[in-house]
Symmetry: D2
Amino acid sequence: MAGVPGRPAADGVDPETITAYVAQQWPDARPTVCHEVSGRHAVVSSPVDPRSIRPGGFVSGPSLFGLADLALWFATFGAIGLEAMALTSELSIRFVRPAIGDTLWARADLSSVGRKNVVGSVVIWTDDPDRPTAVCQGTYVVPPRATETEEHREHRER
Amino acid sequence: MAGVPGRPAADGVDPETITAYVAQQWPDARPTVCHEVSGRHAVVSSPVDPRSIRPGGFVSGPSLFGLADLALWFATFGAIGLEAMALTSELSIRFVRPAIGDTLWARADLSSVGRKNVVGSVVIWTDDPDRPTAVCQGTYVVPPRATETEEHREHRER
Amino acid sequence: MAGVPGRPAADGVDPETITAYVAQQWPDARPTVCHEVSGRHAVVSSPVDPRSIRPGGFVSGPSLFGLADLALWFATFGAIGLEAMALTSELSIRFVRPAIGDTLWARADLSSVGRKNVVGSVVIWTDDPDRPTAVCQGTYVVPPRATETEEHREHRER
Amino acid sequence: MAGVPGRPAADGVDPETITAYVAQQWPDARPTVCHEVSGRHAVVSSPVDPRSIRPGGFVSGPSLFGLADLALWFATFGAIGLEAMALTSELSIRFVRPAIGDTLWARADLSSVGRKNVVGSVVIWTDDPDRPTAVCQGTYVVPPRATETEEHREHRER
């Protein structure tokens, strides 16, 4: 996005740690894999759950929403660290083409990383990222950390 | 909502037909029940899927999104009939309080019923509708019907 | 909206005080009039600014957005009082029909009034509220009040 | 954005033609300048209208919304040509920091360019694009062209 230079992910955050963290938190969920993460983006994939297929062979909207939410969460990990229990505040999604395929891909790009909120956009596709099935934008709220000093917060905001 | 008088549901649409229709379309889904439907609203409930509980005991965001999407779809049935294969075009959701409970409730109110689009708002709660867990607004696109004449379309718009 | 009983507006808030307050804050703005306000809704009107007419005779999108934002702000006054300097956090708008006319009307209904956030929906129309030109939903953030005790905050949330 | 390679703007579309086109369509509007345009993005700037300054010195939300809407429109020109009378269908905006300054900047990036709809994200800032004041996402609807053959439409979609 505009004016956002490449930034390394937060300390200790890489695709493997994110994938393992989520598998541990939700052992029953579909195996979601983090392929890329930086301080401003994440790329993830997830096999399509057969139960989420709708008549016509399309992946359901809530499944796409769920992956978008996850991709934005992973990008938030990249920006501010795994320990930050950020929560989705709001998310708006546009369904632009039918989702047909075995694997869903999503890329989240952060446009704003502030002290209290992270805002980013997500593109979801099955076989061609230039022909997405859904496009989202949303906000994660970052709870204040009890142990954090004002100085740290200022630093994080920059 | 503003200026929208009570309107009867479309011909042949009542809570029982909607509940039966959805159970038939998605036999694997959680049993969602339609309690009320008119030409401008629907009220639904769904038992919480234990797999959708997140750490802290909260129902996951994608589950709330899924129910909101369904409630808006049911209200669209009420406005234009069961046979209309309306598709979600876009939906924005705000998560306002943690969702804790065994049953999710949702009420969708339509603000605009046009020839091509239906727009409505949804409130989701567990035990108190005045303290919702999520609030949504979104658009369903109504595909043109091959057998429909211009005259019918005009009629439907009114 | 669902389960929201009629509630009186906050102390000292009525249509006249809101109209006067806004006229004083933005003396250069188009005269916006508050017609109704309660603890959960507001109805406003504003004459169309000729500069906001676009080719075809349509009122511009940003003008509709501006009135929606204002209507939601007025409803927030009704819920928590005039002195609360609530700020728009996010707003999503759907343009559903061309806006043609001399006067814009908007009705905002609040779905959630919490300690920190107020969420509501807005319908905008020119001559028929059942055929709106735009439909919105958004969030106002309520800043913490320095003089407020925890007890008061709790009370306000209910 | 993900997987979107650089693409040239549509025939006859460059920053100068867009700037001149808009100045001609809205002679009364603030002079908005298009600085960059391609088949997938646009960068614009606009001087802040003093009437849009709110108490505290902040640029009003509707002004930011207006520029976002314009930036997305310009990017749509880049994708499908100046003659396409695309209309905003829906737009969601997040206000992330106070907007203080004399000039507003906006960059729109398109995530999906389809036959009927264009979806993109916009970042708005005053002095630092990495610390935006607002972040948006929205949809423009592209009306069918009477003179266009199916073949042309297919081509445009790719």
